[in-house]
Amino acid sequence: MRVEQIAVFLENKSGRLAEITATLADNGVNIRALSVADTADFGILRLIVDDVEKAKKVLKANGFTVGVTNVIAVEVADRSGGLAKVLKTIEKAGLNIEYMYAFVNRSGENAVLIFRFEEMDRAIAALQQDGFTILSGAQICAL
């Protein structure tokens, strides 16, 4: 029930993000979602892609520092209150979110929320118990 996410270290200098996306595009890797965490000195780019292994290989070959982490993808209806409901479950369970980001799928009906928790297993259990749909990597790629 986990999705593999690619994380890339970014120095704060112009053009780095463009180089990453160009590298992925040249190798036919499709980006499904992304977020950038930035500080004054560096950034971390987080990507959900359709081919994790290939993305990792081509980015490394181009000199980037790449890490693969597991995240949880929760599908909710793209309506007001969709995220709030999920967060209520998380709060109730006393879970700590390390970071999160979201994207809307192609049909536009549903939104996908990407979460990273300190306690991943407990988070999955709590979300499932409250009836949320958790997507696998394959399901995300198929969206």
């Binding site: 994380a7 270290f9 120095e11 987080r46 000199g63 980037f64 982490t69 990273r116």
Partner: protein, 436 residues
């Protein structure tokens, strides 16, 4: 202006008299060191030279050099020539692998030191009527205490204010009427800027002269200090191995060079590559032999500082040779806000952090008047995390470890792999952007 001297007779002695004193002291020193310190004896035996071979000052060249590694190899007290019960004080400087260089002083050494410091202060025109603001750091560093005892010896009033707390320093200057400032030149500029911020006019202070050392500084910086603080700025030289501050001092009559107190410290200028003594006036590595120190004498100690000796007569009447302002180093030592930093020390810290690869670069800048040091570290996969807090924790740890070992606050900057310049297959470890 009448020149003031602390010890007029010796300071103005004709060269022939001075050289005769030097030779007597040198012979005595070599005999004593040979008899009491095994590492020196071993080196002299290996070089095939005996104390009796020293018959002229030129014979000094037959003696082997002493280098910083000799001090480290005999850490902490292996090169002391007297029993510890005669040692009344120790000082230490930071070492490249965490082991500091330790120096010791007998009662007589402390007296010698305060004497040369009193001479240095007098060179700058200080007298017993002065209020001396000593902003050199107190502690293991020789700067603070070395200057302190010199001021007391002179009979002036010492304000042992040490470094930091700039606002309070300015208040003290105003309220106590400090007339002489002892500090690193960069701290002096810091004080000047703080005064400007606080709206304190330097002309309203009693400050007359500043004695600056412990880090390299340019003539431009001298002009800036003089203008901003409305004082005369003079240069002092010293290093803990030789004694501390008070090895050489600029007088008020010249802007060119510092008088070396040659009756205590015998200078040579050598070619750093061949070790040959260079002809008078040539630029090279400065080497000192301490003629009078008891606890921790040095024979031909290589300072790694680049200078030249000025033999022309000085207008002040002192006959002691002058050394030019230090123009560089023969090694990769950096001086950051008065603290000696070797790139190998930074490397040592980085290697102690799991996952850090030996790809780093030290970038030194001068922002305003303060030296800043940034350490760039390449982020390997082992170090990388998708969470900001983990990477920030890492930079804070490296920062804290460097501060612990070196006493210098630096900025740690994470960079992408293979982005640190490598020249000829070897990384360029230091980028010094300061214009000194």
């Amino acid at each position: 202006m009448t020149t003031l001297y602390w010890e007029e007779e010796i300071e103005t002695l004709p060269r022939v008299g001075l050289e005769s004193i030097q030779l007597t002291r040198l012979k005595h020193l070599v005999a004593r060191v040979y008899a009491t310190v095994a590492p020196y004896r071993a080196k002299m035996d290996a070089a095939g030279v005996k104390p009796a071979d020293i018959q002229s000052l030129a014979d000094l060249q037959r003696l082997p050099f002493t280098v910083k590694d000799d001090l480290r190899d005999n850490y902490p007290f292996g090169l002391f020539t007297v029993p510890m019960e005669q040692v009344v004080r120790v000082h230490a400087s930071s070492g490249t692998t965490g082991k500091p260089t330790v120096v010791g002083y007998t009662k007589k050494d402390i007296k010698t030191w305060s004497g040369v410091m009193a001479r240095a202060l007098t060179c700058a025109g200080a007298t017993s009527r002065d209020m001396v603001h000593n902003a050199y750091g107190y502690g293991l560093f020789t700067g603070g205490l070395g200057a302190h005892y010199g001021v007391e010896r002179l009979g002036a009033t010492v304000i042992p204010v040490s470094g930091g707390n700039t606002k309070r320093q300015i208040t003290i200057m105003q309220d106590f009427g400090s007339t002489v400032l002892l500090a690193t030149p960069s701290y002096a500029l810091n004080l000047a800027d703080a005064m400007a911020e606080l709206g304190v006019d330097p002309k309203s202070l009693a400050l007359r002269v500043g004695i600056f050392g412990a880090e390299p500084w340019s003539e431009n910086m001298r002009d800036e200090v003089e203008r901003k603080l409305n004082i005369k700025a003079v240069d002092i030289y010293g290093l803990s191995e030789v004694i501390g501050p008070g090895v050489a001092m600029q007088c008020l009559e010249t802007d060119r060079g510092m008088h070396i107190f040659e009756d205590h410290f015998l200078p040579e200028i050598i070619d750093p590559d061949t070790g040959e003594v260079l002809p008078p006036g040539e630029q090279g590595e400065l080497v000192f032999t301490t003629l009078t120190k008891e606890a921790f004498p040095l024979i031909r100690y290589r300072t790694k500082d680049i200078s030249r000796l000025i033999h022309e007569k000085c207008a002040c009447g002192r006959t002691m040779v002058r050394m030019e302002k230090i123009t560089g180093r023969t090694d990769d030592m950096l001086i950051i806000r008065g603290v000696n930093v070797f790139p190998s020390q930074v490397e040592h810290v980085l290697m102690g952090v799991e996952g850090v690869e030996p790809h780093y670069q030290i970038v030194v800048n001068r922002e305003g008047n303060m030296d800043t040091m940034a350490v760039k570290v390449e982020v390997s996969e082992a170090l990388f995390s998708d969470e900001v807090k983990n990477l920030e924790k890492l930079t804070r740890k490296i920062q804290a470890d460097i501060k612990d070992l070196l006493g210098v606050t630096c900025k740690v900057q994470l960079v992408e792999p293979r982005t640190i310049q490598r020249s000829e297959g070897k990384a360029q470890r230091v980028v010094d952007n300061r214009k000194i």
